[in-house]
């Protein structure tokens, strides 16, 4: 496996998909997408459907996965992917390689709050309240995902990662709640006449 020089490095998404194929014997693109939405999303990313299929095609080009059509008892027109030995070696090598890429937190609500001085305190409050509701929903989703992982064997690492990322989202929630409290306290004490808002030139 892994001929002299790897053709080119693959993006993390490709390895994520290869990774899924290490847990499940076979997957369709659709399965992979569902899985990503349910679990991977909470600590890495949920690629677009078209992206999943593109990656699968590329992986097959490189011999890291192989595919077959539907079988007789599966009348549906579908393509089922399975990882190859080369693929398994490639993911393992990738997973064992430390990276200097840092975690990226892309937080749309925080970005808006960052610009809070441009809008009324009421608007900021709405943003944060909605964000809090969203995060609560997400914590529920993570718990569901975690519950599923409990029932499956060989999922120790995925479970640990889900717990880990659950903590991160919980901290986000706590921070949002704390900020909201601060915001409410502040606007209660000082009436909106304080000249802190939009000192436009």
């Amino acid at each position: 496996m892994s001929a002299s020089g790897e053709p080119t490095e693959l993006p993390a998404t490709a390895y994520a998909i290869l990774g899924m194929l290490c847990f499940e014997r076979e997957l369709t693109g659709y399965d992979a997408k569902k899985w990503a939405d349910a679990s991977l999303r909470h600590f890495y990313w949920a690629p677009a459907t078209s992206h999943v299929y593109r990656e699968l095609a590329r992986l097959e080009d490189r011999g890291l996965v192989e595919s077959r059509g539907a079988e007789a008892d599966e009348p549906r027109t579908k393509r089922v992917y399975r990882i190859t030995a080369a693929g398994r070696a490639a993911v393992a090598a990738w997973a064992a390689t430390p990276t200097d890429e840092a975690m990226v937190v892309k937080h749309p609500a925080a970005l808006r709050v960052w610009l809070g001085h441009l809008v009324g305190a009421g608007d900021v409050r709405t943003i944060v309240e909605r964000h809090i509701a969203q995060v609560r929903t997400r914590l529920g989703e993570i718990d569901e995902s975690l519950a599923v992982a409990e029932t499956l064997p060989g999922m120790d690492y995925p479970r640990a990662v889900l717990r880990w990322s659950r903590g991160v989202h919980q901290a986000d929630l706590d921070g949002a709640i704390a900020f909201l409290a601060e915001l409410v306290a502040q606007t209660a004490v000082q009436p909106p006449s304080t000249g802190r808002v939009t000192p436009v030139t």
Copy 2:
């Protein structure tokens, strides 16, 4: 506000850059990039340099920023950007609009740990230890950024957001440490002979 039809929606990155121009009277692309690296990165993203320039060009096309060349006493060939009234209105409108976009946590280390069963426990440990070091560094950077924000007026919201995201990164660190402890405990108890690894067909 919000005129009948906006030309087309801009991506969040564009608003992030417009946002910076609300804090500072004038910025070059280089300045914007540095700022993003120092602060925005911790709760949203640090766009590539080329991306920053691209966004500035687009914003100018749309009349949301305007630019001038270097002045006599600034011999360098540079372009300095400033936000326009239209730009200010656009960011304010955007910032006040709640979004349903969820937070994305892109966590390269966690993704590798997720595949822990493919590699030795020692490799997993190395990954996590390096990640812990990285996060510690980052917490330091956030504190620095926070210290800078302390000294500037009108930075209440940015400061609050930095504190908020600091908590998120702290939770990441805590989770990593907890996981590492678990990992060490487990490998101490059960020798590496457990048949948990790659049940290949």
